[in-house]
Amino acid sequence: MAKQMTMLKAWRSRCSLIAILAVLYCATTDRANAQIVVLGSYNNTSSGAVQLNPGALANYASTVVPLINPCTTQSGYKGSGCVWPVNSKQWPDPQFSFTVAAPYNTTTYTVEWQMVVKYTDDGKYANSVTVGSTTLPGNQTFSPTFNAQAYGGSAEVQAYVTNARCTFKATGKLTFYIWGSNQDPTIQLKPTVAQYSTSTFGTSIWFLTYLLAQESGGLQFKTKNGHPVWGSPDGIGVSQVDRKVSASYFTVEDPYWNFEVNVKDGLLVLNSKRQNTSAVCSTTTGDVTTACTGTAYNFWDREVYQACSSTTGGSKTPMRSGGIGTEYCNVNIPTPTYPAGSPSIALHCSAAMTWNTSSPLGHWQDFDWIQLYNGAPCGYFLAWSTSSRSWVFKTGACVKGTKTFPNYIVAVCNHTPAY
């Protein structure tokens, strides 16, 4: 028994020695020449597969920039040849494929793949996603998919190659950037807004084309470099969904890279600013209290109620002809008159410069709603002042910090439509 144990130890010792020699062999042969070349391509439907590393160079920083492209063709960072609904094979995933070059592209080798994409927006928010990571035989293609979500920024694909005998790994990298090209305004943005407007509000909203134009020019990406459109304090994309204020929409990166998601999120934000249907604010009496002034139509009801009770001694009991935003008075009260000499808002908004206590949409109430989408940093556009018994319009610039911003309503009402 003791002899057997001694033989076993000797065998183990020899095996260990063999293993160490094998490792040393690998280290002095494979590793010394280990130039892992990562080859990559992405699917561009206008020109087929585009090679990211056409020269088959090791650790290559590619100058080819894949564009998240909702269209079948592209011109710079402006999409064209677009269809609706967008084709999921083109959008939002650019359909990447990666392989390792010979001699590692055989079953002799195993490759541990990982693709990470990082993006830091202009507001210094850092994003990082692992698009995919898997282990494959050397002869197979790595085609990462990130749960069909969009991503962009600085991409790094790493390949860790081992062979069956060795425990060490040789590493190859391919780096490149992914930016975006814009959706077609007529063929894609317009129907997208229409679709989500209907699903969010149950109807189309008259000012969305002007609002989106003011927010972003109707663009998801900057035309000069394909980066997501960014606006202070931290608005992202076509609808400028604010990351600080609406953080819940940024648990995924889609609002940065997918215009469709961005539009959807923007309209949800807009909806949240229209009216408060919680218990207090949904009642006629509660609607006009100080609890509900944070949403536009409730605020409007409060203003009409105050105008009613203080101007002409109208009813002291709030009254609505319909839902929130339909407060009315039992006596005639002054209705807003846009101040003469103020910057015109008539170009796109003349129809809304009207008094209506039955249907808030498309009337004065909407100006406060539009203003609130911008955060109303200098207050609502239109409010009732009890201490002067007057409607107060804010038609001037808004000073924030060292900057003076043009009046938001004036800008929206005069902007070239987004689609």
Partner: protein, 412 residues
């Protein structure tokens, strides 16, 4: 007999409050209410906190009253030792003789637009009145067997207590009244319920004209009002091109003599600002302002804007500098505090040279607290002079402080 005793008790109490109590007062701790009233045209609200002097010149939190999410709305000081801070879900009552006492009274449907203010019911009981579907009253102190919140009545506003407009750029809407013949009546509606005072014939106006009046200040001794000119009432207002009234002329009633006097105040009011006047006993205090049109973002050249707090848009704190820029458009504020004594005619002028300054409190012995940006100072009025004060506190929350009071004698 009972009424006579009550009168004597009230008189004694009033004398006690009014009498110079220099020695005792020096031992009393100073408390500060940092609160920014909700604005009539804004969706935002801000926190409200009660502070005292902490270590060094820092503030110490005594009570956190309203967090930002609870939508603090309005404040009312009964000028007799009780301060009310209200939001949609209730009223915090601050008792100046016991500032650390947490006293929250839940209410619903709070509204400050049609009626709002502290009153002294039957001249002795402090209460707060607000309107919703009717007038409600919150008792200042809990009394066994009596509900804390009950129906109020308009006539109680005869004893309205209003210390005037808070300083800083976030002003609150003052109590409003109107003229019906020779009566000053509330509410400002076609069917007024209470007369606050009889007006001189020169101020009389037909009820149907519904002449609007802003209450400037109201305490036991005086009632100050401002009647806006017709050009500033009932007209569409363009906030970027406001009307203004200057020099400001207010009417002051001496309740004891029942005499009205017109008083010119060295300040201005625009279509979107309120009368920047406060009352402390016999002292009327104002922050001097002058109409001076200027480009947006210039503050009309007012000094000290660079020292005012400015914060990111998502901050819970109010942005002092931006608010001055946007609300006090075309108004030059040199940073000068002017106090006039209604009893003896003295005038005190303090040149601060910083736009964001205000008088916080003046005691009957002449001790005065005033705020300059993020610091509060204490000084003593001597005749018609007040020297540069002693620094009491300097902290980041000080710009939100607009009310101060002396608490009970410090046990330490």
């Amino acid at each position: 007999m009972h009424q006579r005793f009550l009168f004597i008790a009230v008189a004694a109490f009033s004398l006690l409050r009014a009498a110079p109590v220099q020695q005792a007062a020096d031992a009393r701790e100073v408390f500060f209410v940092a609160a920014t009233p909700a604005q009539f045209d804004e969706p935002k609200s801000y926190p409200a906190t009660l502070y005292a002097k902490g270590q060094g010149t820092r503030l110490r939190v005594v009570q956190s009253l309203f967090g930002q999410s609870r939508q603090f709305s309005s404040i009312a000081d009964d000028l007799h030792g009780t301060i009310y801070l209200a939001g949609p879900d209730g009223v915090y009552v601050v008792h100046e003789d016991n500032p650390s006492l947490e006293d929250f009274v839940p209410i619903t449907n709070f509204d400050n637009s049609t009626c709002w203010g502290a009153v002294m019911v039957n001249e002795v009981h402090s209460a707060l009145q607000y309107c919703s579907d009717k007038v409600y009253r919150v008792q200042g102190t809990a009394t066994a067997g009596t509900p804390r919140v009950a129906e109020g009545d308009w006539t109680a506003f005869k004893a309205l207590q209003f210390g005037g407009e808070n300083g800083g750029p976030f002003q609150m809407t003052p109590p409003l009244a109107e003229i019906a013949n020779n009566q000053l009546v509330m509410p400002d509606a076609a069917d007024p319920k209470a007369s606050l005072a009889e007006l001189p014939a020169a101020m009389a106006s037909k009820p149907e004209a519904r002449r609007l009046v802003r209450i400037v200040a109201s305490n036991d001794r005086y009632l100050a009002i401002w009647v806006p000119p017709a050009s500033m009432v009932g007209q569409t207002v363009d906030a970027s091109n406001p009307e203004h009234a200057e020099p400001l002329k207010i009417n002051v009633l001496n309740r004891a003599t029942r005499e009205w006097k017109t008083m010119e105040v060295a300040t201005t009011v625009t279509s979107i600002t309120e009368v920047p006047v406060r009352i402390f006993g016999d002292w009327i205090a104002t922050v001097e302002m002058k109409w001076k049109p200027g480009a947006p973002g210039t503050g009309s050249g007012s000094p000290g804007m660079q020292n005012e707090r400015t914060v990111p848009e998502d901050s819970p704190q109010p942005d002092i500098r931006d608010r001055y820029y946007n609300r006090f458009l075309d108004v030059y504020i040199p940073g000068r505090l002017v106090l006039k004594n209604l009893a003896d005619g003295r005038t005190v002028v303090m040149d601060i040279g910083q736009q964001d300054c205000e008088v916080l409190a003046v005691r009957s012995d002449g001790t005065m607290l005033y705020r300059v940006n993020d610091a509060v100072f204490s000084t003593v009025i001597d005749g018609e002079h007040a020297s540069v004060g002693t620094l009491l506190v300097k902290d980041s929350e000080v710009p939100d402080i607009h009310w101060a009071f002396w608490g009970p004698a410090n046990k330490h």
